[in-house]
Amino acid sequence: SAVISQKPSRDICQRGTSLTIQCQVDSQVTMMFWYRQQPGQSLTLIATANQGSEATYESGFVIDKFPISRPNLTFSTLTVSNMSPEDSSIYLCSVVGGGGGYTFGSGTRLTVV
């Protein structure tokens, strides 16, 4: 299965600033997914990122707040913009594996103060 390197693993940011999270996959993948995991809650899909096209955002998530880049088939970034304490969460990227299951990055634990 694919191996994903996600960074940073954690960060503490000031409100109003932005943070860019990176995910590097060790193989080419068509679709990459970005999730948010809030304490005690399900993983929530933010958007699906396909190479060569704009990301598709889920209800409640907008491009201005969570811009995504997908410059090639092994890399993607998610930016959390103009952060507020409500953005404190774990952010995860994911890809579909060859066997149908999904592989996740190790997550970025974001705290906004």
Binding site: S1, I4, Q6, M31, F33, G40, Q41, S42, L43, L45, T48, T56, L92, V96, G97, G99, G100, G101, Y102, T103, F104, G105, S106, G107, R109
Partner: protein, 112 residues
């Protein structure tokens, strides 16, 4: 009503016990069912992947899917302290968007 409901736990069991985890869902289009294990400060790790109804066994883990009841289960036999983690069920339809719907997770502690 959430699309996927998972028994919230937490569960605390003695070493060697059988752990039983369950999820129910409302979307009859779900065809692919997964269980993930997530250790603290780590990303989810795929444990079991099944298609449609039936049972699947892998070592100490057994996954069951009952589509008629919209109910899936994960059993862990001979539980070990290393099984202490949060377990997440996830599922998706056959649509090409590959979107997963997750349960909220059940935290399991296996006491030595």
């Amino acid at each position: 009503q959430k699309e996927v409901e998972q028994d919230p736990g937490p569960l605390s069991v003695p070493e060697g016990a059988i752990v039983s985890l369950n999820c129910t869902y409302s979307n009859s289009a779900f065809q692919y069912f997964m269980w993930y294990r997530q250790y603290s400060r780590k990303g989810p790790e795929l444990l079991m992947y099944t298609y449609s109804s039936g049972n699947k066994e892998d070592g100490r883990f057994t996954a069951q899917v009952d589509k008629s009841s919209k109910y899936i289960s994960l059993f862990i036999r001979d539980s070990q302290p290393s099984d202490s983690a949060t377990y997440l069920c996830a599922m998706r339809s056959a649509r090409n968007d590959y979107k997963l719907s997750f349960g909220a997770g059940t935290t399991v502690t296996v006491r030595a």
